[in-house]
Amino acid sequence: MSHQETDISRRQFLGKAAAAGLMIAPGVMLYKVAQARAPEMPASSSNRWGMLIDTSKCATGCSDCVTACQTENGWGGENSNEVHSAPTQQAHWIRKVKLTDKQTGHVQSLPLMCQHCENPPCVDVCPTGASMKRADGIVLVDKHICIGCRYCMMACPYKARSFIHEELHNQIPYAPRGKGTVESCTMCVQRVDNNGTPACVEACNSEGHKAMYFGDLNDPSSDISKRLKEYGATEIRADLELNTGVRYQGI
């Protein structure tokens, strides 16, 4: 199945839901549209982008989100441009993690990536300010001023960051990445800035798994906020009180 036929953006998903007769008033739809940002407008702190992952729907062995991220951002996969790096040295923006309960043997599966903390340790420790958080909560590396000290990798509790161990070629124009700098999940900032949805979420939905949701945590009427309110969710390493932008149900 090709990407084009099946991918469902957040907006279209909502549209279908409305057509299906769910209680989404036209006003909500209009509100969403009014929230959309023009290219010349900066990211705003009135938004906080986040993700919700329903681990009960995340299938062990499925890695559609990972593949979609690789295609979108040009890392790893079959055509990896890290040809010299050992597997332990290759970048991973998102990975599927299998959890087995030590006592009960219960097995779970979930995608793990940058958790886009409100108080990110990587941003705290970065000497130059290359590690940064945008106004809308997306945590990024400004590779223009990253010196490659890797202190952020020491500080990240989620092992979300990767260092590029070799010269890269054929990067994707939307996702610059290169030797000697650190990188991680950008929440597909290039898509979000175009009022789109991260590739992983899109892939998960279009394949019909619907284990991932993306949206504005600051907007009480967003699908993600409603779900969070209704079902609740957990932060990984909640003890650190980082207030992550990525939340999990069922762990």
Binding site: A86, K102, P121, V123, V125, I145, C146, C156, P157, K179
Partner: protein, 402 residues
């Protein structure tokens, strides 16, 4: 006390030139390793996305910590006004400078983008310990530089005590900063404990003094100058006290970690079944780095032995490097605890102990930085009047009876 004459070494003996040549070769190997790593990228090293800091950081942090400790003798003379240490204060301060420069060189050359050093110097994130450290390191170089100048320039001698005070406080902050690089890392079980900062300060005392002892005794014996028993005795007992203090801090650090159940995993890893890390901890850090040197320093049989003190100092350095390896690499090898009570597996090597094997270029870079420090001090004593001609008991001890 008589007036001491400070003299440069002649520096034309074949032994001296051979020393320079050997150190120079190591520096050259380090430089070659840097160009090799910089050209290819870090894939040629053993470092990875699992163990992000490797053997270069072991050497770099060790040298930076030692730099602060090498200032001990100068600090004791100026801050605590112990006149007997004063003759060796200039050497102590210059050694502190060269050790710091060697350590920083390694750190900078290991960066992913060493070409952007200027960025690190111009853009500061003031919440970052690293950024603070860059200010602390540069400040240390400046303050100790001024201190050396005040000591060497007769007209400025009267101010040297104030510069000594400033240097003393600065070095305490500096080593606190170095310890805090690890102590403030909340993510990893082996770190995240405030005792790391004072522990690093105490370790700096021991490691720095050990290097200072070796350098001093080497200079005095190779140049046929006299180093009396009085000053020797001070250096020996001082090292003994510092070894004891390090022992205390290492014990308290592990007791703190052992008390909380959530840290039992990492403690078990370091102390019981961590393979190389357990070996390096018990054999390297504890037995070689603390117990044997303690015996060499305190046992009456070795009280007058210069060789015993040099051996003890060499062992303290070996123990210090082991400690840095266990702290820096062991701390990363142990997996992040993200899901308590669960076994975690992934394609990104979650769960499980992370493997690390240092590659030759990394090792060469680390050793090259160490050699650079020693090369600089070897050259400094040839071009600067740093060392008194004669430190025999008769020269420095007012109570000496011949």
């Amino acid at each position: 006390m008589k007036t001491l004459t400070y003299k440069m070494i002649d520096g034309n003996s074949s032994g001296y030139l051979a020393l320079l040549a050997i150190l120079g070769l190591f520096v050259l190997a380090g430089a070659t390793a840097f160009f090799y790593m910089e050209h290819n990228g870090h894939w040629v090293t053993g470092m990875s996305n699992q163990v992000v800091w490797g053997i270069p950081h072991v050497f770099a942090v060790f040298l930076i910590v030692s730099a602060s400790g090498a200032l001990n003798v100068a600090s004791i003379s100026s801050v605590f006004n112990r006149k007997i240490y004063k003759p060796l204060a200039p050497l102590s301060a210059v050694l502190a400078l060269t050790l710091l420069l060697g350590g920083l060189t390694i750190l900078v050359l290991d960066l992913g983008r060493p070409d952007r050093l200027i960025v690190a110097m111009t853009k500061y994130n003031f919440k970052s310990i690293f950024a603070w450290n860059m200010i602390l390191y540069n400040g240390f170089l400046a303050i100790v530089g001024v201190y050396v100048w005040f000591m060497l320039e007769r007209k400025m001698n009267k101010f040297s005590r104030y510069a000594g005070f400033a240097a003393f406080f600065w070095r305490l902050i500096l080593t606190t900063g170095t310890g805090a690089i690890f102590g403030f890392l909340v993510a990893r079980d082996a770190y995240d404990v405030a005792i790391m900062a004072p522990m690093f300060i105490i370790m700096s005392f021991a490691y720095g003094l050990a290097i200072f002892n070796i350098v001093t005794i080497a200079i005095y014996s190779w140049t046929d100058r006299q180093l009396g028993d009085v000053i020797f005795e001070r250096l020996r007992t001082l090292l003994g006290v510092f070894i004891g203090a390090v022992f205390y801090f290492v014990t308290v650090y592990h007791l703190t970690k052992l008390y909380a159940t959530k840290h039992h995993g990492v403690e078990n890893f370091i102390l019981v079944d961590g393979g190389i890390y357990t070996t390096l901890f018990w054999l390297g850090q504890v037995i070689i780095g603390l117990l044997i040197p303690a015996i060499l320093v305190f046992h009456p049989a070795f009280a007058k032995s210069r060789k015993a003190l040099v051996s003890a100092s060499v062992l303290v350095i070996a123990g210090g490097l082991s400690q840095m390896y266990v702290t820096i690499i062991g701390g990363q090898a142990y997996p992040l605890e993200m899901f308590p009570g669960k076994i975690i597996e992934s394609s990104f090597f979650d769960g499980g102990i992370k493997a690390y094997t240092p590659s030759l270029p990394e090792l060469a870079l680390g050793l090259g930085g160490f050699a650079l420090s020693l090369l600089m001090i070897a050259l400094a004593i040839k071009v600067l009047r740093l060392i008194p001609d004669n430190l025999s008991d008769a020269e420095i001890d007012p109570h000496h009876k011949a």
